[in-house]
């Protein structure tokens, strides 16, 4: 059974007014437990609206979201339980920090779940460890941290709820290259250890190529493609048409392929190297 499934999911902003706009239009997808899904799409393609329906922040105009086979809006009063199961990290999550200490802020989510004090502290500490926040930072005010540390503290605040599905909306936006790499590998290792489902929204095709099992492409409120990462990025011309691009190395290899070299779609430099080295040793002949 898929962990998240949508059936004809549609969301219209400002329905019944002249400004109404359908942001998500009849989306049917299913996501399996333990997958790492990359979600890409042009600005305004409906990505954010889609993911906000997964944890019940937005109520679908029509259609349903099934979590473990159950409609999340079956009991609207219990929607908070859905939000604990589907954790959501917004863009620039550091803007949501408010507590006196970093530890207290991370503990806000688990505290709302009604857990006992020991369990809350255990979860907060382990979440902080996952994102690489050292113990001495936990007693500081969140407003004293650096930008990257704030970001991690905010992500830890969601991880601490131990959600079955973790949705991250552009977690690396505005970080320096090293900060991006570190945060991304922390997310991957978190995913590997907890075996939970992760949905990663990103504008960085390199990040998506490196991490995702499957990629969901949104274009003007509809699902354009939803397939394995290799398959999606082999559609490079289609992606470019809707204002997206494939990773640089994927592009180079696809150009080589179109020129007749015996190579196939790659996602990372390492994969490209594996294909190019034997080719070079043969002197770069096209039909070796």
């Amino acid at each position: 059974m898929p962990i998240i499934e949508t059936k004809d999911l549609t969301y219209t902003y400002g329905e019944g007014t002249p400004f109404c706009k359908t942001a998500v239009d009849h989306v049917n997808i299913s996501i399996e437990q333990g997958e790492l899904i990359g979600l890409i799409g042009h600005t305004g393609s409906g990505k954010s609206t889609l993911i906000q329906q997964f944890n019940g922040l937005l109520r679908p105009t029509s259609g349903t979201v099934l979590l473990n086979g159950k409609d999340i809006w079956e009991q609207p009063k219990k929607i908070r339980d859905v939000r604990f199961q589907v954790g959501m990290v917004f863009q620039y999550p550091e803007h949501q920090l408010f507590e006196e200490t970093v530890l207290k802020d991370i503990a806000f989510g688990p505290g709302n779940m009604g857990l006992n004090h020991d369990e809350i502290m255990k979860r907060a500490h382990s979440a902080a460890e996952f994102v690489g926040l050292s113990e001495e930072l936990l007693e500081k005010s969140p407003f004293e941290l650096s930008g990257g540390e704030k970001r991690r503290a905010a992500i830890a605040g969601v991880i601490a709820m131990d959600p079955d599905v973790l949705i991250l909306d552009e977690p690396t936006a505005g970080l320096d290259p090293r900060g991006r790499d570190v945060l991304l590998s922390q997310i991957i290792s978190y995913h590997k250890v907890r075996h939970n489902t992760v949905i990663l929204v990103s504008h960085s095709m390199e990040d998506i190529a490196r991490t995702a099992d499957r990629v969901l492409v949104m274009n003007s409120s509809k699902v354009e493609l939803f397939d394995t990462t290799e398959e999606v990025f082999s559609h490079d011309s289609e992606l470019e048409q809707i204002g997206l691009r494939v990773p640089q190395i994927t592009k180079i290899m696809s150009i080589l392929k179109s020129k007749g070299y015996p190579v196939h779609t790659v996602l990372t430099l390492e994969q490209a190297l594996k294909q190019l080295m034997p080719l070079l040793s043969k002197g770069g002949r096209k039909n070796g």
Partner: protein, 271 residues
Amino acid sequence: MVRDITLGQYFPGKSLIHRLDPRVKIALTFVYIIFIFIASNFQSLFLMVALIFGILLLSGVPLMQYFKSLKAILFVVVFTSVLNLFYGGGHVVWSWGFVQITDGGISNAIFITIRIISLILFSSVLTFTTSPTELTDALERLMKPLKVLHVKVHEIAMMMTIALRFVPTLLEETDKIMSAQKARGADMESGGLMQRIHALIPILIPLFVSSFRRAYDLAMAMECRCYHGGEGRTKMRVLHATPRDAVAIVCTAVVCAAVVFCVVYFPAAIR
């Protein structure tokens, strides 16, 4: 939701009312408000109501929007009219113990309700049809004489522009922060009064922090562009009065004269 607040929102358009000189609009709104209080009987108030309806239709803003802005002050209207029910002379219509309602009271309540509603409608027309920039620009111009008294007219106008400019931004920000805290299980819909107040802390603190951040950024950006106050500053769009404005002034004068006539000729409604 917070986004439903329409009081003081601008609806772009090209109607006759939109194109009036903002200075004239402000001045006339001021006059209308004074005349709503001068109108002391139903005959004169009817003239004001007819005027406001004419203006509403001319403004081209959906009537639904005006209705929404009235909804925001529904409580005030109901409260004052209920209170007025019990004051007033005339025949007793209904009584219960020492509480009694007279026909005078009923007429007072209706009168006050119409007054408050027209008051709100007149000011809504101004804010719905005048962009915040135009509004502050006109205010700055109208307040210029106060410079003699060392009132910092330009600075006041600039502060108003900035405040108005940031209303939608802050609303959006509030929405975002609320979503983020709800995603962490913040419960804002249930619990007693104290719990609800407590539930606002996770929203207010990030909101304050981001307002300060925005203020610093804006101050920096203004200084980078050499902003140094109103001294010697020119306007990109200079306000010009047109024949249109003269017509508006004349119409207003006619209605106001009629109101004064009614007030003198008919008895007052409030008893």
